[in-house]
């Protein structure tokens, strides 16, 4: 479903701030794969996801989604394949627009924006139905501005928007990191529910090793722009946080350096 072939990305090439964020990274995901991604600060996790989204051009390598080569496709054109939830709850929704307007933008992801009326009553019913899946009561305040919602509500809405139009790949970048533990847990449960119910192919970056082990069928660990550990199936299920920390020390020759991970 997703084929990342040997991609590299260097930021600020030729300056003192040159940073090799990705070095010859390859990763193939089958349909229905749910891979969790862990690694220290600056390991290149976000850069990997952003490469798939086309936030910037990669230096070399290629990216295929469902058989289509998207390497040179601009960000908004790739969007039809991808559902995305960002770390910052403010990033994924338009604050000054109504909940249902946000839904309708997401529902039309990858389709033409024409001159027909944006919110039809038929569509409103669909959105109401979808919003009720969140169990947050948002279906009863569809004309509220999204800016009035809490961070957790906004993140749940962003998640729903990401899957409103079934994506080929769902990309989650520490999407619960900014939420309090209880809300984070709920959003994570929702993510897992959507992924398994729709058999979505998904990548989830997390700084929480327990979550990385508990969710998904595959786990990759990144360090300094490379994937240093890739595990799936039974072996992944039986991992412990301790195993992961040891693995990291053995493979990278240093302690696991992610301030947020240590807090957990």
């Amino acid at each position: 479903m997703l084929k990342i072939n040997n991609i590299s990305k260097t930021f600020n090439t030729g300056t003192v701030n040159e940073k090799k964020a990705l070095i010859n990274v390859s990763l193939h995901l089958k349909e229905g794969d749910f891979v969790t991604v862990i690694g220290g600060n600056g390991a290149g996790k976000s850069t990997l996801l952003n490469s798939v989204c086309g936030v910037f051009n990669i230096d070399s390598g290629s990216i295929e989604i469902d058989g289509a080569d998207v390497t040179r496709l601009s960000e908004h054109k790739r969007a039809k394949y991808l559902g995305r939830v960002f770390q910052d709850p403010m990033m994924g929704t338009a604050a000054d627009m109504q909940i249902m307007e946000n839904m309708s933008l997401a529902y039309r992801r990858g389709k033409k924006h024409g001159l027909s009326w944006a919110l039809t009553s038929k569509e409103k019913k669909v959105y109401k139905e979808m919003l009720s899946q969140l169990g947050l009561g948002l279906e009863n305040r569809m004309s509220s501005k999204v800016g009035l919602l809490s961070g957790g509500q906004r993140q749940a809405l962003t998640l729903l928007m990401a899957v409103a139009q079934k994506p080929k790949v769902l990309l989650l970048d520490e999407h619960t990191a900014a939420l309090d533990p209880t809300t984070a847990g709920k959003v994570l449960e929702l993510s897992d529910k959507f992924i398994s119910e729709n058999n979505l192919t998904a990548m989830m970056i997390t700084h929480n090793m327990k979550d990385a082990i508990a969710y998904g069928n595959r786990l990759i660990m990144m360090n300094e722009g490379r994937i240093i550990y890739d595990v799936s199936g039974e072996e992944k299920k039986n991992l412990t946080v301790d195993d992961l920390l040891k693995k990291f020390a053995a493979l990278s020759g240093e302690e696991f350096a992610n301030d947020r991970a240590l807090l957990n």
Binding site: K77, A79, A95, L105, M161
Partner: protein, 308 residues
Amino acid sequence: MLNMIMSFGLPGVMAQGIIWGLMAIGVYITFKILDIADLTVDGSFATGGAVLVMSVTQYGMNIWISLLLAFIAGCLAGLMTGIFHTKFGIPAILSGILTQFALYSINLRILTCANVALNVRKYSDVVLISSFYTTDALIKCAIFAAIIIGLLYLFFGTQLGQSLRATGCNPNMSRANGINTERNKILGLVISNGVVALSGGLLAQYQGFADINMGRGAIVIGLAAVIIGEVLFAKIYRNLAVRFTSAIVGGILYYVIISLVLRMGLKADDLKLLTALVVAIFLGIPFWKKSIMDSRIKKGVESNVKNQ
């Protein structure tokens, strides 16, 4: 007070206010919806006036076609700014300044000299509104504004219009949802400057001439109208049609206030200084509010600590 307003011709002042309010709607589209401060308007307003006057006087064209041409000319000015901004990667403000600068030459080319009259006596059958018939002008301007607001309201309710609003509100989210934000920015600038040029065409008719400098400071007046309207309508249910209307009301109030202070003895030369200061203060209010709130929170925390 009321006497004073009546004595300088309230209908005429209001008609002008509506025309500038229409211009302010153009500013609203870029400044509020797209989140771009577009300085093209100072040039495109005059472009509209110039195109209208020349197509009527030199080419004997129908007034509606002349207005349409003025609108299109404004759209092209917006297109230029949009291309500078998105395809040349120039910051929006600078793109607008460049276009505005270029438009000075273009407007002179269109007008052939700095000032061209549109004699109302000579073109009385052609001209729609004129300062000689202020009440008539006021009514027609109001109808005109209502139609433009209606059309814009419909447009921003379409899928395309909605994607334009999203582009201004959150470009990241827009791209993640497959919206071409660059194209939308260009489109917004095009529509905005089209509306601005249209109002330039109306003003040229009203005052009976087009002038190379007629748009100078348009952006500031537009902002003033938007801000006044916003303050007044802040509490009312704010759908887009209401917000556009509030810009018109803001334009009217701006003009009435200006006329009043001029009557009361303020020199016309000092007007721009006054307007700039008023706009600066109103733009500053949200910022000050925030810093006051922040310092209150800080103090609150400190006193809490002390109390414990």
